[in-house]
Symmetry: C2
């Protein structure tokens, strides 16, 4: 089973990397670009055959390693 | 209009960061985790009102700045 975990910064948390990309796009001549925020995506192969179990495992992985839940949100998608 | 661009490594390109996460998960006691690959996600606010135009703009942004198309794939999603 494959899953995708997306980790994004919570609203209100400063994102200097996103800001740099925003400025980079503007200086490349891309107009009309508003806020840019960067996040991370993890594609994970799991041996779980049960989607509910996989979701619970992934949630624990996010809490323990993949995301800093103080400043980041995570979303789990079973593919 | 909001869009999400997901940039992932092409198949076959080594991903040491993903490998490190894989090992980290294993040492935290998560069994049954296969390959982990890490990618990037960009949430971009656009002033475009036309989805086709937005998609073309985002594609150009990926080619020029957001992705290294030699080793990375990108996917555009209009939200």
């Amino acid at each position: 089973m494959k899953a995708r975990v997306t980790v994004t910064l919570k609203t209100g948390v400063l994102d200097p990397q996103g800001k740099a990309i925003e400025n980079g796009l503007a200086s490349l001549g891309f107009g009309g670009v508003g806020e840019v925020r960067q996040g991370k995506v993890f594609d994970i192969a799991l041996s779980d055959r049960d989607a509910e179990k996989a979701r619970a495992d992934l949630s624990a992985m996010c809490e323990k390693l993949l995301a800093n839940t103080v400043i980041e949100n995570y979303a789990i998608e079973i593919l």
